[in-house]
């Protein structure tokens, strides 16, 4: 039974399960982005634990798992968590994370005790809270317009739409309070209200996800896509879009992988989200590990080429001849020849000549600047100039030249080539 067989013989059921996972992931991504950006991820973790007693009490009072009352119970439990953490923080000056730690572990323990005490009357069992039953969601359906729609999908879909709607409506408020809460409050935005709203939304997303992937794995869905998106793009609305996409993708690939390896879908989805995050760390444009390694290699190559040109220019200027041997040097010479900067015998061609002149000019101008602005003895000037020559552009060179009074020679007396 390989993947193709799965897609071919699909009885629609797997698609419903995947769709549910995707919608839950999307809802979590919407809220998760704001949590991660406002450094409240651990509140997301706390809430996903603390909703348990809220849910259990709601079910004990007769609410159906996944029904309206359970949503209310969870939101109340979430807000209680946040309020208690605040009371501890202001009451006795406990740090936020220790306070949250005390509150959510206590509430979770209360939830577990309630479940075991009332085990006979309700069919909630502790491990189903932790696992979720995504696989069996398609069997619990409602008739909607002639089509059997899983109840969990409807709940999750509804939650996703109102989260998306709420966030899009209050977009600028969330953006302002996320970026700089103090300024937003000063500008009259109800930052406290927005925060409470965000945490209530987190509780909603947790409950929507609770039945599908279990309370704990909702943490993965809340935080991981948003954290990965934050590495890839830098505008808040893009981060949210990418987070939704990563969440949905994680849900789909996770479910298929779970089918392939015959294991829990919720667990595999969390693992796939983890892999997505690792890939984001690796391939993020700009500051990703590969991007940084690529840029470092690029710089090293540029420095080697420019040093070679400068050495050649100084040799032709009658200065010291330092022909470096070595593999890198041969590679650089090969490239310089191919790119028409030096001739076959190593002499500078016009293109090489102008570039080399600019490098030496940067070098000697920087030595002049250091001589003037920093108390450095003569023999200390060369190493910093050797480093800065590769980073000085024409406009800044012009400013330095003006600042040091257009000197003809550098502090060592060698002439500074013109800008040309």
């Amino acid at each position: 039974m390989n993947i193709l067989n799965l897609l071919g013989g699909l009885a629609g059921m797997h698609l419903w399960a995947i769709a549910t996972a995707a919608v839950v992931a999307a809802g979590c991504a919407v809220v998760g982005t704001l949590l991660v950006v406002r450094r409240m991820s651990l509140l997301g973790d706390a809430i996903s634990h603390a909703v348990l007693p809220g849910i259990v009490v709601a079910v004990l009072l007769g609410g159906r798992p996944g029904g309206l009352w359970v949503l209310v119970g969870a939101v109340v439990a979430a807000l209680l968590t946040v309020w208690l953490t605040q009371v501890l923080h202001e009451g006795v000056g406990m740090s936020e994370d220790a306070g949250a730690g005390v509150v959510f572990t206590t509430l979770f323990a209360l939830g577990v005790v309630l479940i075991t005490l009332a085990a006979s009357r309700i069919d909630l069992d502790p491990s189903c809270v932790l696992y979720g039953i995504l696989e069996l969601v398609p069997f619990d359906t409602l008739l909607l317009g002639g089509v059997e729609v899983p109840r969990a999908f409807l709940t999750a879909g509804l939650v996703f739409l109102c989260l998306l709607g709420g966030v899009t409506l209050l977009w600028k408020e969330f953006l302002a309070s996320a970026f700089d809460p103090a300024a937003a409050a000063a500008a009259g935005l109800p930052v406290a209200g927005l925060t409470t709203g965000l945490l209530a939304a987190t509780a909603l997303a947790t409950v929507a996800g609770f039945e599908a992937v279990g309370a704990i794995l909702v943490v993965a869905m809340l935080v991981v896509p948003a954290a990965a998106a934050e590495l890839l793009v830098h505008r808040l609305h893009l981060v949210m879009g990418v987070a939704i996409a990563l969440g949905v993708l994680g849900g789909i690939v996770g479910y298929l992988a779970a089918w392939q390896f015959n294991t829990s879908a919720a667990g595999m989805i969390a693992v796939v989200l983890g892999i997505e995050y690792a890939l984001a760390v690796l391939f993020a444009p700009g500051h990703g590990i590969l991007a940084r390694a690529w840029a470092a290699a690029g710089l090293a190559w540029r420095v080697a080429c420019e040093d070679r040109l400068a050495v050649q220019w100084r040799a032709e200027e009658g200065g010291e001849r330092a022909a470096e041997a070595g593999v890198l040097n041969r590679l650089v010479c090969l490239w310089l020849r191919v790119s028409g900067r030096i001739a076959a015998d190593g002499r500078l061609l016009p293109l090489g000549q102008t570039e080399a002149m600019l490098i030496v000019r940067s070098h000697r101008l920087w030595e002049a600047w250091l001589g003037r602005h920093a108390e450095l003895p003569l023999d200390h000037l060369h190493p910093p100039a050797e480093w800065i020559e590769h980073h000085l552009g024409s406009e800044v060179r012009r400013r330095i030249a003006a600042d040091v009074g257009q000197p003809a020679g550098d502090p060592h007396g060698r002439t500074i080539p013109p800008e040309g």
């Binding site: 991820s41 006795v92 323990a109 005490l117 794995l217 943490v219 294991t263 969390a270 989200l273 983890g274």
Partner: protein, 313 residues
Amino acid sequence: MTGPFPLPYNTLVVAGGMAAVGCAAGVVGCLGVLRRRSLAADAASHATLAGVALALAATGRRELPVLLAGGLLTAIGSLVVLVMLRRFTRTREDAATAIVLGVSFGLGITLLSGMTARGIPGSAGLEQFLLGQTAALTAADAMLLGCLSVAAVTLVWVGLKEVVLVAFDAPFAAASGWPVFAIDTALVALLAVMVVVGLPAAGAVLVTALLVIPPSAARQWTDRVATMLVLSGAFGLTAALVGVAISAAVPRLATGPVMVLAAAAIFAASFFLAPKRGVWARWRQQRELQQEWSRAGRDPTQAPTKAAGRSGP
């Protein structure tokens, strides 16, 4: 053979094991809270599940030491990943902790479920590590937990001044030559050991409570680290014993969660009643100050005699 007091054997064994774990968790937890590493311990505790599953898959044996050893490996592994995330990525610490927590727990469940689906013998019972299986503690288990707890507390007492120095003022510690990163790593490793020792007691999800609640309660009573350690150990021990007692009295009640609730009760009491820091004490102080001012207000010459509370900057 009824012992000196007619407590059943199992209750004694469980009480002994859990008392040691509760006390050690309280003591080590103090340093975790002071160094703001307790939520990293939460991530480590969720990671133990994957370790337990791997240990069973690798060795096929179900004895507690084997499973706990597996749990320790992944707990420390998750803390290493956490450090690497903080150093090599732009992701902030709270998000990184949540990532490690969520993904490692997901991995644990994936492994467990995969093994059960493949009918690997004994994998069915591993869920007990999620919520703790205290009542089924045998003497050998209790002995193991006891020794680890005593070792942890001794380590804390021996290296106390180094850890407190680093927790209080890391730059000063580094400047005066202490290897701050090494001391931090040792503390986090000790937290991971305590997470694993606490696993059978409270389970992967609640073991953080044993490391966070007693120290937070102890902090309300004292301004000295040494006293805080002793108090936190005592609170952890008391919570454990109360949890065991209740679990022995009421049928069908798991010991782990009850221990956590007992610790929470102790914390609540400390939160309100502690002298100086407690809410009631502060409220009383506030009221006295207002009364003095109002009296002074009526009689301008008689300013308040003693400056109550802290003379703020």
